[in-house]
């Protein structure tokens, strides 16, 4: 009798899927090295032109926009997500804990379109926020949220919040409360306990959450596409435009490839950071 029953049966479907993932990655690499034949969907001969084209200002601007969006989104998501995760982990009643969890998860489960469309109604020129502010007489003319970086960041913070809250809550729930009790018994007030014990101990969680927020924002498409409306061009919106408006799939492939390498590089930096922090924590 085999010592490892079902190994072959259980592993084969996932091996097939892994092959499909690998093959589609290779397809992107292969297309990124082929010439675009205008008017044809089939690529031409081998070339590096796609990568030299990417040095144009349009693509540089899209990269810059994407990085800026990632930065602002990660920052504000952390500022909002940390108190939420903290309240959830430390809530005394299980019911309150469940309620906070369910509410903070709603954006995750409602899909990009519903969420983004809802924000369009909230942020539009005749939208909820502007209507309320005008009626209160606080502003004379609507604030422009649509087609601006600010609007895209607000909606992206909402989009990234659930995963950040979950990751921060996981980190916070693994902190040994005895360390806080020790600090309290030595006379530290709540603010001091938080600033000198809880916050430092949650830094690995914060770094991990930041890296995920970065990856999510980087891959966001519907939000910059619909709220940015072509005015806030990111890598994702540009890949779509190059692919489906100009049918230049080789260029779209090389743009995705460079974006993917960039993501992997940034995540690798974050991971090294997390490992260093964990080492410090161990000593």
């Amino acid at each position: 009798m085999s010592k490892r029953p079902f190994l072959g049966w259980f592993a084969s479907p996932s091996i097939l899927i892994a092959f499909a993932i690998a093959a589609s990655f290779l397809a992107i690499v292969q297309y990124s090295l082929r010439a675009h034949v205008p008017g044809s969907l089939n690529p031409g001969g081998l070339t590096l032109d796609n990568f030299t084209t990417l040095w144009k200002a349009v693509y540089g601007q899209a990269f810059l926009n994407t990085v800026l969006l990632c930065f602002w989104t990660a920052l504000f998501t952390l500022l909002i997500g940390y108190p939420l995760a903290f309240a959830m982990v430390r809530a005394k009643s299980a019911r309150l804990r469940s309620a906070i969890l369910l509410i903070s998860l709603t954006p995750l489960f409602l899909g990009e379109i519903v969420r983004t469309y809802s924000w369009m109604i909230v942020l539009g020129n005749r939208g909820f926020v502007n209507a309320v502010l005008m009626q209160m007489g606080l502003i004379d003319r609507p604030i422009d949220f649509m087609f601006t970086m600010t609007g895209v960041v607000i909606a992206l913070v909402h989009f990234t919040l659930p995963i950040v809250v979950v990751m921060l809550a996981a980190a916070l729930s693994h902190i040994d409360r005895n360390l806080e009790r020790a600090a309290t018994s030595l006379g530290a007030g709540r603010v001091r306990v938080f600033a000198t014990v809880t916050l430092p101990l949650s830094i690995p969680g914060i770094v991990a959450a930041t890296s995920t927020a970065f990856a999510w924002t980087f891959s966001a498409f519907a939000t910059p596409q619909m709220i940015g409306g072509g005015k806030v061009q990111t890598i994702s919106t540009l890949v779509y435009q190059v692919g489906f408006a100009s049918f230049n799939f080789p260029l779209a492939a090389s743009l995705s490839l460079v974006g993917l390498l960039f993501t992997i590089a940034v995540l690798a930096i974050f991971n090294t950071g997390i490992r260093r922090l964990e080492k410090i924590g161990a000593h």
């Binding site: 592993a11 939420l84 995705s256």
Partner: protein
Amino acid sequence: MKKTILDHALDWAGRILLTAILCFVLLPFIVVLIASFNESAILTFPPKGWSFRWYANAFEYRDFGEGLVNSLMIAAIGATIALIAGSGFAYVLNRYDFALKSLLNGVLMSPLIIPNFTIGLGLLILSAAASLPRSVWLVVAVHVIIVLPFVVRSVYVSLQNFERRYEQAAESLGAGPVHVLLTITLPLLLPGLVSGGLFAAILSFNEFTASLFVVNQRTQTLPVAMYNYVREYADPTLAAVSVIYVAVVAVMLLLVHKFFRLEKVLNVE
């Protein structure tokens, strides 16, 4: 220990902050709910009159109905495939060591890092290079790849909390591996499998970006149909669709929560 004034102030500041953040999270959905009952085509706040006409409109627009059917079908097939492949993989990942295990794991988990637009573009190019038609199976393949990591994770967590002694007891009483699997392992893993499958179905139902790259007019999913609608029309029909959509997802989510507490799936306990 007695609470000082500072403690009370902190408590209240915390409560206000928490409420404000929760309002921020829910605001768009509340606004969309109000907008869906707004009488006029132009959105105004507060609405001047109430009506159900956008709901009627939503039901009459054919793309939504077809999109919903496509989405439900793709979510059901995709989640089933992902559940079979993912739980099998979680099982071998949890119990065995084999050659190239970490490579296989890395490739299967890579969709967590690879942006969805890249996954969509990759499969579109792959299918074009292999001269495959842009059929519904291409969309299913994209969805399976995207939701698989979540299924693996959900089942893997259940396997980690699994009590191996029941299996050992059955084995020592002479049950063969298939017998043990069917009568001990599967029934005990059922909550994890059900929640993993529902989780996958919800994620697949919601997937938009990668789908946009691989669908055509005939295979478009509900999110893609909604996106196309909002590019063409500016009336609140989409608000009505959104409300129905939220209701459908909420039911699915409550089901997951019932079978297997969300805290467990997400490892925040």
